[in-house]
């Protein structure tokens, strides 16, 4: 067991025992050694199943919905960004959420790992050692540089230590310098407009409208999504039609502008591998440039729409 897991368990236990919180939301080991699942501990005993390691990719903020009583969330940087965003948007009261920050140097991209190793069923354990991820298999150990097997969004993370937190377990890690230069968008930037249009035509044509992206996203909490409405019918319902898919994904990117924490859950959840983070990161860059706004990076943060106001407007158009 890793050091961090021990600390998380100990702190969770403390929080529940003291009665400070009624629930701790964290991770537990999943069905295989390279997977984790969310874990909800409401008794001190249940904290024994908590883990925290390189496999804990899920954004736990998605499980926080208008809690009536105090909950603690074992929060990575992106989880914390999402928590602050939804608190700002009335989905939880700040006083009801204890952000137990954990540092994060990137979480495992299972798909990428499996593809790379080629022996999925034989994995016995996965652990971090320094800058490497060590995979123990039946046929011995494989060591890979962490950056090669973590989710792409982790390689440009600006919140490896939660910016807003009530406490921190473990030592802070500095943000990636790459975050502000958006290396992930370089390819899209280099394309002509026609190439970009063709690129998205190819990508979005794959969408089967399973809404796994929406389900994984902490910022998607509308009682009814615009895409499901009939009057008006903003987008054609059902998959298979490019236009409806386009409307859905573009509409979603619009709605996430200034609200996305770059956790990558949507892309990770996508069964047909649409690079959804490209749209979200593109919009993050736009809001950062135009409004100096990055979702969930500070406690005092206002909603993006509040920054459109006359009193806040920096540059006057026309």
């Amino acid at each position: 067991m890793s050091d961090l897991t021990d600390k998380v368990r100990a702190r969770a236990k403390e929080l529940l025992e003291s009665g400070e919180v009624k629930l701790v939301i964290g991770h537990a080991r999943g069905t295989t050694p390279y997977r984790s699942r969310p874990h909800f501990a409401s008794t001190p005993e249940q904290t024994a199943d908590l883990i925290h390691d390189v496999t804990c990719a899920t954004n736990l903020a998605v499980y926080v919905s208008k809690p009536k009583e105090k909950v603690a969330v074992i929060a990575k940087g992106c989880d914390a960004r999402s928590l602050i965003t939804i608190i700002n948007e009335g989905q939880a009261e700040r006083g009801n959420v204890v952000i137990v920050g954990v540092p994060c140097e990137g979480k495992l991209d299972e798909g990428g790992l499996l593809e790379r190793l080629g022996f999925p069923r034989q994995v016995k354990a996965v652990r971090e050692e320094g800058e490497e991820v060590v995979v123990e298999g039946t046929e011995g150990e494989v060591r890979v540089a962490r950056d090669e097997v973590v989710m792409p969004n982790c390689t440009y993370c600006r919140a490896r230590t939660p910016a807003v937190r009530d406490e921190l377990i473990g030592d802070p890690v500095p943000a990636r310098e790459e975050a502000d230069s958006y290396p992930d968008l370089a390819e899209l930037d280099a394309m002509t407009e026609a190439e970009r249009a063709a690129f998205w035509h190819e990508q979005l044509s794959k969408c089967i409208r399973c809404y796994a992206c929406r389900n994984a996203c902490p910022s998607c909490f509308c009682p009814e999504c615009f895409v499901d409405e009939y009057h008006p019918q903003w987008a054609l319902h059902g998959g298979g039609q490019f236009r409806g898919n386009w409307m859905w994904n573009i509409g979603r990117a619009q709605h996430l502008a200034g609200r996305c924490s770059a956790c990558g859950s949507c892309q990770r959840g996508c069964p047909v591998d649409i690079p959804l983070m490209l749209l979200n990161r593109w919009m993050e860059r736009a809001t950062n440039e135009a409004f100096d706004h990055l979702a969930g990076m500070s406690e005092e943060q206002k909603q993006l729409a509040a920054l459109f106001r006359k009193a806040e407007a920096k540059v006057e158009h026309g």
Binding site: L188, M191, E193, A194, E195, R196, A197, A198, F199, W200, H201, E202, F226, W234, A235, F242, R243, G244, W246, M247, I250, G251, A253, Q254, A257, G258, L278, L279, W282, M283, A286, T287, A290, F291, L304, A305, L307, F308, R309, K310, A313, E316, H317, G318
Partner: protein
């Protein structure tokens, strides 16, 4: 002579009919841009017939989905018109619009929709000639760009 001129102009316009004609959808605020369009009309300032106007009370009413929807349905260009900053009938609806449209512009760019297909313009009730110029410029640009594609055309 006036009639002669009319006939000539009409022939010129007709010549365009045979060609592909862009559709330009405009969301105009009731107090400034829509009134500016009315002034252009009342002053008989001819402009490109590609434009179709949907009147909204304020440019702040424009939901980005209304723009994406138009492109999704095959409209070739979208114009959003509001009052000049500081002159909004509702004090600052146009600021809300400006902020939102900043995002729309960024996202349309990401999606590969050419810059000339979307414009946000502040046109006052007295700027009929500016309305005329904007419509003509934009329609000309759309003719140059051809039909809008979202990668499938």
């Amino acid at each position: 002579m006036a009639q002669q001129l009319t006939a000539e102009t009409a022939t010129e316009e007709r010549a365009e009919v045979a060609e592909w004609r862009p559709t330009l959808l405009a969301y105009l605020c009731n107090w400034c841009s829509y009134a500016g369009a009315n002034l252009a009309g009342a002053s008989r300032m001819p402009y490109d017939a590609a434009i179709r106007v949907i009147r909204v009370p304020c440019s702040g009413r424009v939901d980005p989905l209304m723009i994406y929807k138009a492109f999704e349905r095959g409209v070739d260009g979208v114009l959003v018109g509001g009052c000049h900053l500081g002159d909004c009938h509702y004090s600052e609806g146009n600021y809300a619009c400006q902020g939102r449209m900043t995002l729309v512009k960024a996202l349309l760019k990401a999606a590969g929709i050419e810059e000339g297909r979307f414009r946000l313009e502040w046109i006052s009730a007295s700027e009929g000639s500016i309305f005329q110029a904007v419509v003509n410029e934009m329609a000309a640009k759309l003719r140059e760009l051809g039909p809008a594609r979202m990668g499938d055309g």
